[in-house]
Amino acid sequence: MLFAAHDIAGGYGAIHIVRNISFELDAGDTLALLGRNGMGKTTLLRTLVGLADRFAGGVAVDGKPLPPRNPRALARLGVTFVPDDRGVFARLTVAENIRLAQLAAYGETAPDVYALFPDLKRRMLQPAGTLSGGQQQQLAIARALATAPRLLIVDELSQGLQPSVVEDLARALIEVTGQSGLALILVDQNPKLAMRICDKVMVMQRGEVVASGSSAMLGSDPRFFDLLIVS
């Protein structure tokens, strides 16, 4: 088992936002985390990677339990994260952002990120803060992939991006996860996009998982999309 989360409860300070969340991922598994805004998806991801408080439960990589609030521990085991604000180093150039990831690489066989995103190669010397939103998301994904991770966690892949950029990003993720055994946890507001990229789905409501299964099975259930509609 590559990654396991058991009975996770998390939030910020005294505020508990997610609870009782358990799931496991093997190498190559791809999981879409869906739900309406404010249901705790981002908090769950941040709790898993150690950027929010974990009040209960455990996270383990390769069966090894990990301390809360310690993103470095996950980085050392090949788990990386793209936050919803993309988290690019704005004052560093594109090349420096990628170089930094290569310095922190877990594995030895990272994909050629400049081949995946040729636009970044043309902008290698440009400060990341001056890129457009779509280019910053490409850089954030490229930087994460340059760490040669075993598990990539992406929060809001398509948020605020034009459809052609989203399509390029989706194609890159499908290509990399299909070829390398990279596991993926993806949060996105577009369920069809997320389920096209991921084989498994979990739906969250009010901080808890209310439905889970394969993308094909849940996608064909007429009640599934009701869970995602703002009521």
């Binding site: 988290g87 922190a104 440009q126």
Partner: protein, 290 residues
Amino acid sequence: MSSWVQILLDFIWASSGLALVAFSLGLILGELRIVNIAQGDLMMVGAYSMYAMRGLPFLIALPLTFVVGFVLGLVLERGVLRWVYDKGFMTTLLATWGVGIILQQGVATVFTVSQKGIDPPLKGLIEIGDVVYPEYRIAAAAGIIALLTILLLVLYRTALGLRLRASIDNVEMAAVLGISPQRMFAMVFALATALAVLAGALIAPTIAINPTLGLSFLAPAFFAVLISKPGSLGGPVLGAVAVEFTFTLLQAYLNITVAESILFGLLAIFIVLKPQGITWSWITAREEAS
């Protein structure tokens, strides 16, 4: 002509020392988001360290002083600052102020408040035209310029520098990429402390050493940092050059009190008009090229 050579040499000497202090202040502000009020007092510690080691050869005492500063920085970061990082701006400000007071009182207790002095290791004079200038000041300024060049090269050309700049830019994402914020904070504070102590050590042979000597360097160093863009590492160095250039010009025509008043007035107006500081174009160009 000779007066302009004198002004130029005075400017190089004063701006090099200020640049080192401003660089160290900017490093702490950029990485730790802390305004270190004690930075001037750390210079004072450097001066007293040199006084305490005045029996040793200067070139042995100087690196020892740097080591003293680095260890002091580690102790202050681990013992004081790490407990107040998440307590807000005012708390960190008061904490560093408190550290400064403790350093002043500690030094006054050990060495008394009477002024001290040390001899420069180079006592000769250099003649440039009609101007006669102390050898030591020229050698020390050259040493500081070389040190700042090396530090900027490390920051902009090495993996360690890349990690440090990433940590300054976005400490959370740096942690996601395996860079320890705690380790980086400790290293940056220790290095910045050591640089301030070193600056004090280098200036020591040219001033009267007393427990409050750091105060006169603190305000211009802060202005040097404030007029550069937040988070910039080379900016405070150029900020120091700009501050000292203005001050040197004013001082050439006015008495020191009036010159200081006008300088700080001009800087205050500048910061009100341009609160985000100057984007020094050559640094931006270098960042893009690296």
